[in-house]
């Protein structure tokens, strides 16, 4: 299993903890990650303003990977979705394919079909497999009540993700987290969006959506929230305190990446997993496991 690691924009800037923990887990489980230096933004942020630009940027990244005979593995759900949607669109729309290739020739590339595009969590679930993952566990996370947040672009739109997990009744993340011995907490509104994309437009409305889930997590008794997308983390982790302030309430729910959770079970220490970089403090909750 060899993949070009697609980091996207948010992770190198604001979610190094995700990158750190993901690399660790990948190494342990035999997923080789290569780092092409010249990936650019996946195009997701420009989609709302300029779909054609978004398509072009995604095509650039895919053509680049294809040229180097590499498949693409992304850590961010939005990146995965943007790249996959572009691949899907270009396979069906000849006109847009021609336009894209015309623009790509300016940089010496051509899009001739997409490499395999995978979210890292999907690679773990489908290709590494639960048995292999469990082999590397050194710790048991018994006693930790974790709720999972699938987010929107990890599984939707369903036609571009090959139906590997059902967006209406998903279980891939819970299956992986449950392997560590942690208890999975189910809660109402599990499938609701984090509200992230609306943040630059209407912060208040976006936070209201985020708050909804935090309230449910609190009521359900979750100790921590598990994510697979850095943008969701911006909302739940980065903005948790301001929501607490705005609405005069308290959550203190640490937000952990899937790879941090798996990494913990694999025996990595706090530094290796970047746990100190999580905004909502994780020290107290995770003390018994280190």
């Amino acid at each position: 299993m060899k993949y070009a690691l697609f980091l996207g924009c948010t992770i190198p800037a604001r979610a190094r903890n995700y990158e750190l923990s993901a690399r660790r887990v990948a190494e342990k489980t035999g997923v080789e990650l290569v780092d092409p230096e010249d990936f650019i933004c996946c195009g997701f942020p420009t989609k709302a303003g300029d779909m054609d630009a978004s398509l072009l940027m995604a095509a650039y990244n895919l053509a680049l990977a294809r040229k180097r005979n590499l498949d693409v593995c992304a850590l961010c759900s939005s990146c995965t979705s943007a790249l996959s949607e572009a691949a899907h669109h270009l396979s069906e729309n000849e006109e847009d394919l021609a336009t894209v290739n015309e623009r790509l020739s300016a940089v010496g590339l051509q899009y001739e079909g997409s490499p395999k595009i995978r979210h890292f969590a999907r690679v773990l679930f489908e290709e590494v497999g639960v048995e292999e993952i469990q082999k590397h566990f050194e710790k048991d996370l018994n006693g930790l009540n974790i709720a999972t947040h699938y987010g929107c672009h990890y599984l939707k739109p369903s036609e571009i993700h090959d139906g590997f997990d059902d967006p209406e009744n998903p279980k891939s993340l819970e299956t992986l987290v449950a392997l560590t011995g942690a208890t999975i907490i189910d809660y109402p509104g599990k499938k609701t969006c984090c509200g992230g994309p609306v943040l630059p437009v209407d912060e208040k409305t976006a936070m209201r959506v985020t708050k909804g889930k935090l309230d449910n997590l609190k009521t359900a008794g979750a100790d921590a929230l598990c994510l697979v997308c850095p943008f969701c983390s911006v909302m739940y982790d980065g903005n948790q305190k301001s929501i607490e302030g705005e609405y005069e309430t308290e959550y203190k729910i640490p937000v952990l990446y899937l790879t941090q959770i798996l990494g913990m079970a694999m025996g990595f220490d706090r530094k290796a997993l970047g746990l100190n970089m999580n905004v909502v403090k994780t020290k107290d909750l995770l003390k018994p496991y280190f």
């Binding site: 948010t10 800037a13 650019i40 942020p45 609306v198």
Partner: protein
């Protein structure tokens, strides 16, 4: 609010939309409200209502839609598109509306900023040497702080 006079609306708008693959099925909408029920935005902000937006489009209320602040509230979570019983690609339609609004010169400042960063710098969060220092400390490989390719991809972006 006053009555919507269909005679004054842009009757070509619906046709214009029907040409785009994202919007070619919006006429199939029969107002079942499935999209509204699942929409996380409609639940917290009553100015956003996907079925209402589709209806406005079908009526031809072009200006009202493209100038509105509410089309920007769609988070593209795809819940509506997954569930629509008539297969209307609602999320893609919202994205199309946003694009059209930008072409007409209506876009929120936040989106404008995102666009200029991405199309101008190749990243929405440009990196500098300080970032690379932090990366090195953490044992991570460095990343480019500039992006030349982006100028060739978007020559008209200033």
């Amino acid at each position: 609010m006053g009555a919507v006079d269909l005679d004054q609306c842009d009757s070509d708008f619906a046709k214009e939309l029907a040409q785009q693959p994202e919007a070619e099925k919006i006429s199939a909408c029969f107002g079942c409200r499935t999209c509204i029920a699942g929409c996380p935005m409609s639940a917290v902000n009553d100015t956003f209502n996907p079925a209402r937006i589709i209806r406005m489009a079908l009526y031809g209320m072009k200006e009202e839609i493209l100038e509105s602040p509410f089309i920007w509230l769609c988070t593209s979570c795809y819940t509506c598109q997954e569930r629509c019983p008539q297969g209307v690609r609602i999320t893609d339609f919202m994205t199309l509306l946003k694009n059209m609004a930008v072409k007409e010169g209506h876009e929120p400042s936040g989106i404008k900023a995102q666009m200029s960063l991405t199309k101008g710098q190749g990243r929405i969060y440009p990196l500098d040497d300080f970032d690379n220092k932090k990366r090195k400390k953490a044992g991570l490989p460095p990343l480019p702080t500039t992006c030349d390719v982006i100028r060739d991809l978007f020559p008209d972006q200033i």
